[in-house]
């Protein structure tokens, strides 16, 4: 499974990034002075309460939103517009209703001017890996929410991007599906080792997936703590049940309690 470990992801350098939303006289400081360096091939999860600007940060890294100040580099290059050397997955699957599962994955390549036929086998392999092997010719409306989201994840990965940005990708799913998706995502990541920035508000999800967890403060979002997750991979049942895993979760929970995000 780890035979493709030599693939290198993009590094991400976020330096002094802040973002202010202005709407008439209303000024909202979404994020304030974020410094973060993500190494090539690293899996970083950002956890924070709703509205802490974690999605804003992800959109800034993607180049979909201009930061008010600071500087962002992906693979050493300044981000000045939408990045194309990335894969992106949102909370909603946002598939194209008129295309079946396979064609929804291949649209990534069509839009990039690549030959979809060359990626067909890889698309089928990845779809099989996330349990959609028997559903490749189904239309999105025939799938459950979890299946659609898996399709969206494969679409985000099919072109083998060096950087994968995921904005609460499991947010709309039920707990069981979330767990399975987490397992599938780790498999894909171990397979590909693309740098991954994963935004979530699930504490255990972040610990289970990431090499490092970035804990954000409530708005205006700043980095509260960065926690290295030193747990073996794959993060199987035993790892998740380990005392160390719970300690990490506890540590993050305490961060949130200190900030009044979680109150008992």
């Amino acid at each position: 499974m780890r035979n493709e470990i030599d693939k290198v992801g993009s590094s991400v350098d976020i330096a002094g990034v802040a973002h202010v939303f202005q709407r008439g006289d209303m000024v909202t400081h979404a994020i304030e002075h974020v410094d973060l360096t993500i190494a090539a091939g690293e899996f970083v999860a950002i956890v924070g309460p709703s509205g802490c600007g974690k999605s804003t940060l992800l959109r800034i890294v993607a180049g979909l939103l201009r930061n008010s100040s600071g500087n962002v580099k992906v693979a050493g290059r300044d981000v000045t517009g939408p990045q194309t050397e990335i894969g992106i997955v949102f909370q909603a699957p946002v598939l194209l209703d008129w295309r079946n599962v396979l064609d929804n994955v291949l649209v990534q390549l069509e839009l990039r001017g690549l030959d979809p036929a060359k990626y067909r086998d890889e698309a089928l392999r990845l779809l099989g890996k996330v349990g959609l092997g028997d559903f490749t010719d189904r239309m999105p409306r025939e799938l459950s929410g979890g299946m659609r989201q898996r399709c969206a994840i494969v679409r985000g990965l099919i072109h083998d991007p060096p950087l994968l940005l995921m904005d609460e990708p499991f947010g709309a799913l039920d707990a069981l599906t979330r767990e399975q998706m987490r397992i599938d995502l780790e498999k894909l990541w171990l397979d590909r080792r693309h740098t991954t920035l994963f935004v979530t508000h699930g504490i255990s999800e972040a610990v289970a997936l990431a090499d490092r967890v970035i804990v954000m403060t409530p708005r205006p979002g700043k980095i509260d703590r960065i926690i290295d997750i030193d747990l073996p991979r794959p993060r199987n049942k035993e790892v998740i049940a380990s005392a160390k895993f719970s300690e990490y979760c506890e540590e993050i929970t305490e961060c949130f309690m200190r900030r009044g995000v979680i109150q008992y």
């Binding site: 979909l64 939408p82 194309t84 069509e110 839009l111 990039r112 001017g113």
Partner: protein, 262 residues
Amino acid sequence: MTALLDWTKRRAGPLIVFAILLLLWEFGVKLFGIKEYLLPPPTKVWVEFLKRAPAVMDAAYVTSRQLLAGYLLSIVVSVPLALVVARSRFVEQSIYPVVVFLQIIPKIAIAPLFIIWLGFGFAPKVIIVFLLCFFPIVVASVAGFKSVDPEIADFARTTGASEWKLFRTIQLPQALPDIFTGLKVGAALSATAAIVAEFVAADRGLGYLLLQYNGQFETAMVFAIIIILSVIGLVVYYAVELIERLAIPWHVSQRPAGVTGA
């Protein structure tokens, strides 16, 4: 043949109701002794129609031509205009409000103007059909072209695809269901528009014939023409629906059964 049988089976309910209504009409008229110039029975309408079928069919041809020309013209103008409105902030904020405002003018009231400008022939009727069909198609198409989910747009931007490719692959297919809704509303309006245009000024066509027969108290023929007109409207409507079925099967099949719009 089997297709026709299938169709009959699926539509059995409405067909039976329709047949019962015809029977009630036929025997109701006779039972209550209603005068024929007030309400002729369906059989009488049929007999009278057969007597003058060639003249009526000639008129139907004239009217259909005007209707189709006006309808097609409205499609050719409306859909591209909608695209421009959806894509250009300037056009949306400066030109589109004027279009919407002009829509308030009762188009039937300005029909006589077109007679002054363009005479009694083909052109003024086409323009009137065009004017009536135009607006619903524009409004629906603008909605369609603007219906791309912002996150799909964000995803698309990360692919670096050209505007034309994004339009072809995402914006146009996304807009088609709404465009077809507009086209069907337009189709339903087109028959009304064609007949009104002929009411205003015409020396042939179904609208002209209708007024003639009405003046002569030939009520059966008035009914015959109304029925022919309805059939023309239905044919146009279902032709559009058929094209819709072929063009966007993914959308048509997810619509709740029995809802056809109109």
